[in-house]
Symmetry: C2
Subunit: 408 residues, 2 copies
Amino acid sequence: MALIVEKYGGTSVGSIERINAVAEKVSRTHAAGNQMVIVVSAMSGETNRLLEMAKEISSDMPAREADVLVSTGEQVTIALLCMALIKNGEKARSYTGGQVRIETDTSHGRARIQNIDDSRIKKDLAKGKIIVVAGFQGVDSEGNITTLGRGGSDTSAVALAAALKADECRIYTDVDGVYTADPRIVPEAHRMDQITFEEMLELSSLGAKVLQIRAVEFAGKYKVPLRVLSSFEDGPGTLISYEVGRKMERAVIAGIAHNADEAKLTITGVPDHPGVAHSILGGIAEKGINVDMIIQNIAADETTDFTFTVPRADYESAKSILAKVSDELGARGVTGDNSIAKVSIVGMGMRSHTGVADLMFATLAEEGINIKMISTSEIKVSVVIDDKYTELAVRALHKAFELDKKLQ
Amino acid sequence: MALIVEKYGGTSVGSIERINAVAEKVSRTHAAGNQMVIVVSAMSGETNRLLEMAKEISSDMPAREADVLVSTGEQVTIALLCMALIKNGEKARSYTGGQVRIETDTSHGRARIQNIDDSRIKKDLAKGKIIVVAGFQGVDSEGNITTLGRGGSDTSAVALAAALKADECRIYTDVDGVYTADPRIVPEAHRMDQITFEEMLELSSLGAKVLQIRAVEFAGKYKVPLRVLSSFEDGPGTLISYEVGRKMERAVIAGIAHNADEAKLTITGVPDHPGVAHSILGGIAEKGINVDMIIQNIAADETTDFTFTVPRADYESAKSILAKVSDELGARGVTGDNSIAKVSIVGMGMRSHTGVADLMFATLAEEGINIKMISTSEIKVSVVIDDKYTELAVRALHKAFELDKKLQ
């Protein structure tokens, strides 16, 4: 008898019909002799409906009360899913985050899980009950309701799986697994049966938005066997593993990620002295703008050019902050480009194969694609290119690294 | 500095505009130097919206999960009201029933409050915070969410007022107080400044649906000063008192209640032996049908006629149950009337004034209204009449008992 934690996102429980379908699916897995803990999100659209009401009152939402408000979304889903399971003849029981209890710190809206009390759930599982837990939410040590931030239900599921020492944590989503590239761009892209934890981490952070990155980190920390599957069709999905299997070794890179939602900014001719990076990025960070790639070139004249990327939506506000910084620092000026894309190759195989980056650069050159920025990590090479070449670059790289030949 | 508990029902918080208006009102009372605890219901329509979703899944709703579901309604309101108060510059803090904590028994959907932990609220009040509590809900000793049943928010407010030893509990509703009769029927009816607890209890149970009867009982038990006011216009409302004031003694009766939503059933010629009443009413009670007035006449032939009233909606099902009972008991038969009304006069003054019932009967006779049933208590006389005479009877009695002359 295996203990399985399953997570269904907002789209998977977006209507009564779909909640009934999830109940059917859960009942089948339960009937096959497994113990089941189900984590659910709010029905799709519900969190936004609640936030719209709050915004009507005030644009400056007090964080504690925002959490009290939006946490009702998941609470509605757990009750409805339990009703559907009980209708199917199951013994089912719902728990809010506070009831479990999932204890977090007090950072409302982006709380981190600190402890999970698994005693009530274990007792219920022993009685043959199916447990349905509200994702995305917890309570702090004083019993205040907290939320983990958007997509936090993945983290709830992984944390519960870790606490319960579950045999597998299944994240049901609207795709049937992790692909070697976006199949909308590369028709030859295929679902990976397995991917390593490190690769998944890089792919998550690079815009392959299958799993929340914090959930992957959490899974890695506690070595939770994690599987991504489709809630709409049956299939094995993609298993995230913590060891590199024999088959996987043959693949140099696991997949190609892209993000066409970026912009880059350069401040040129900055007098080069200690503390420059902080002077430049301090104001950007204060505004809560995420900085992704950062490159600094030292020029011959003892000034430096400093380039970084930001989400495209933050381009204008970042640019105006930077213009002020430029004046203060006595820099030459600010240039920018908000029609760029980032393309990355990710794979454990890079560590033992040389020439991976070179093959990437050669492939892009052959297609006449100019590289504007490069950044590398141990298992990843990212380049910034003109966004109009995104699809072309991804397709060319997919072919060059022979991802169209299914190795696994 | 007074401690005031205020309760706002679903209509009073039915939109963002109204929530803002409630926040303004609360801020004013707080600014006048009072400590404030606010109890709110779900926004009007919300509870039904949630139940409709549940009914789509199953008509047979599991009670525990139904409570998890509907309790989200009040949780949304506490968050939104706190946001509105904070926008006004107040320090406000929301609590769900479980967070307070309001402990109840485990009767999901109709739980009874057993204990209230006032420590967190008292600490917050001492810091100048306005407390907003979700009405209608609590938790049992194991932390399962419970609800008190429709209208339970009144009970939550009174129970909190009792626990906190509040100086006053104000129930805001869509009427501006308790009237001597329904002003839609009797234009001369006037708002009472005060009414005794016992009178209010009789009026509540008689269809003057200003306050939930359990809330009134609770208030009486703990001698909570209770005031009914309008949330839409300013005014003193009606104070429910536990002592008869000087002015109040002059009034023989406090008010006239009517309920035109009744039906009566009679089973005739029942062989008279012990246990007959139970044989007759057992099946009715089993079906959850509320029986109100009960009258039994012993006839000369050692059979008995047994008459009782039920809500009009339950008339047909009660009649068919009774037909079966009649056969079993060897009774003569079943007759019924589903076009009756109950009219009652209520007043503490009855206890010391004779002839009150007689004046009622004489007044009705003068108008040619036939009395079909009579039932009396210490401070109430109820009669059942043909429902077409309801308005005429209420108006005639209002005049006969000089309620049009404002005594208070």
